[in-house]
């Protein structure tokens, strides 16, 4: 993930001492998934997750919303400033850790428990809303209205943006350079401001802002839901059933799974060998050696997203065998929500060690964000404890996340099948191939973790 940091994206501190070989976990996971599938077929004959109700538990004062937005803007400003003004040494500057650990990995993990926290702290949304409020006060009715958002765009801007972020993360050589990251952050913010000014703050945030849309998918799995000035409680997983599969939604989820998969695959021996060959070909075409590596990794990433898309397509095509009247495209959209817990499982499994170890760097970076010797909170001398979690524990968390994510995917797909097909029997039969896809994703995930840990 981040070369310059003490990279432990999938890393293991020390060797594992597992009671059974790692491949056997794949078989155990398969047994769990098949047993879950049978249990769903027998014990879950009617839909239970669709149209579930949420219960308001707290009213959120409006001032809190403003305060969270202001905090988000301040954090964004600090991270950008530190990237330019701070020491250009990755592990001593807050910018790379803030971007790749706290936001890219930390926010999805928080979102799965607490709901859409990014929406509250989203600095671009906060600035956009403040500008909108000010222009309405000054311009009154003369303030310009946003353009209608083109329906066919759907979530495509978010999907394309997420792919671009994944290219930076997994292919770009200077991905962890603090000043480069600050430039990229400013460019990202500029695109969001253009989008918001064209189509309105809320519309763009919900459909076009890659990070906001991406994080909102995981937040939809959470039991907490921040809505209309209220904090609501709902059953876990029920929120994601309300995901409307606008154009680009399937691509967005597939990019999420594909990018995490490629992150693991690119650290294994197969891709390392292939990349050398690809680099040779590209340098033969006149590309510089570093740029050839970057292009090679970007191609690999695109191919992995394509492979994940193919697997999903096969599962959906299998569903059609029980009811030919259902279109493949429509089914892809109807069942895409079942991939969201899998996307989260992949993310947690691949980045758990990064979050646990590199996340600790926040303690000293908070006191000394620029790496210039400051000690704002008295924690500048803190260090990373690599013994906080052992190798076995990391592996068990990774396997547990993958299995739980895929079981959740099966539950969501089964529940949706009950509302899509004519009876419970047909619904169960329609999910045979989705079960195969889930097992394929689980095996792929375990193999990727295993090969990158090897």
């Amino acid at each position: 993930v981040i070369d310059g940091l003490v990279v432990l994206a999938h890393g293991i501190v020390g060797r594992e001492d597992l009671p059974i070989p790692r491949w056997l976990f794949g078989w155990a996971a398969t047994v769990v998934l098949v047993a879950s599938f049978v249990a769903l077929a027998v014990l879950w004959p009617t839909p239970r997750l669709e149209h579930a109700r949420a219960r308001a538990v707290l009213r959120v004062p409006r001032i809190l919303e403003v305060a969270c937005g202001a905090l988000g803007v301040a954090f964004f400003a600090l991270v950008v400033y530190a990237g330019f003004a701070g020491i250009q040494q990755v592990e001593l500057n807050i910018t790379p850790v803030a971007v790749w650990v706290l936001v890219w990995v930390g926010v999805p993990v928080l979102s799965i428990f607490l709901g859409d926290v990014f929406r509250a702290f989203n600095p671009w949304r906060a600035i956009g809303r403040a500008v909108g409020w000010a222009s309405a006060r000054v311009g009154g009715d003369r303030a310009s209205q946003p353009l209608p958002y083109p329906e066919r765009l759907g979530r495509w801007p978010a999907a394309v943006g997420l792919f671009a972020i994944a290219v930076v993360e997994l292919a770009y050589a200077d991905r962890d350079d603090p000043s480069t990251l600050s430039v990229l952050l400013l460019a990202y913010a500029a695109v969001q401001f253009v989008g918001m000014s064209l189509y309105g703050v809320e519309t763009w945030t919900r459909r076009g802002d890659p990070l906001a849309v991406y994080f909102s998918l995981f937040a939809a799995l959470a039991p907490l839901h921040w809505h209309d000035g209220r904090l609501e409680l709902r059953r876990p997983l029920t929120g994601i059933t309300e995901l409307v599969a606008l154009p680009g939604t399937v691509a967005l989820v597939l990019v999420s799974i594909g990018s995490t998969s490629f992150d693991g695959f690119s650290e294994g021996p197969i891709w390392t060998d292939v990349l050398v060959e690809v680099q040779d070909v590209l340098t033969g075409l006149g590309l510089g050696p570093t740029f050839a590596l970057e292009v090679g990794d970007a191609i690999g990433l695109a191919l992995m997203v394509g492979l994940v898309a193919l697997l999903y397509r096969l599962g959906v095509a299998g569903m059609r065998t029980v009811d030919r009247s259902q279109g493949t495209g429509a089914l892809e959209g109807r069942f895409v929500h079942s991939l969201v817990p899998i996307a989260f499982a992949y993310l947690l499994a691949h980045y758990f060690s990064l979050l646990v170890f590199q996340g600790q760097a926040t303690a000293y970076l908070a006191s000394d964000p620029l790496g210039d010797g400051a000690d704002l909170f008295g924690t500048a001398s803190a260090s990373i404890d690599y013994g906080v979690v052992g190798a076995n524990a990391i592996w068990y968390v990774q396997v547990g996340a993958l299995v739980a994510g895929h079981v959740a995917g099966l539950v969501l797909a089964h529940d949706r099948a009950l509302t899509t097909f004519s009876d419970a029997r047909q619904a169960t039969r329609s999910q045979y191939w989705m079960l195969a896809v889930m097992i394929a994703f689980t095996s792929l995930g375990l193999w990727l973790l295993s090969s990158s840990n090897a």
Binding site: T321, L435, I439, S443, L446, W447
Partner: protein, 45 residues
């Protein structure tokens, strides 16, 4: 030794794919049996 080591390495890789192959085979047989049963039911009606 090298070919044997490679074979062992590939065998370990194959063991990750094996559950998928087993389940896909089982599902294919299951789907075939279901389709035949459906045809029989349709024929007896």
């Amino acid at each position: 030794m090298t070919p044997l080591a490679h074979a062992g390495h590939w065998l370990a890789e194959v063991l990750y794919v094996a559950p998928v192959v087993v389940v896909v085979t089982w599902i294919s047989v299951r789907a075939l049996l279901d389709r035949r049963a459906e045809k029989r039911e349709a024929g007896s009606e």
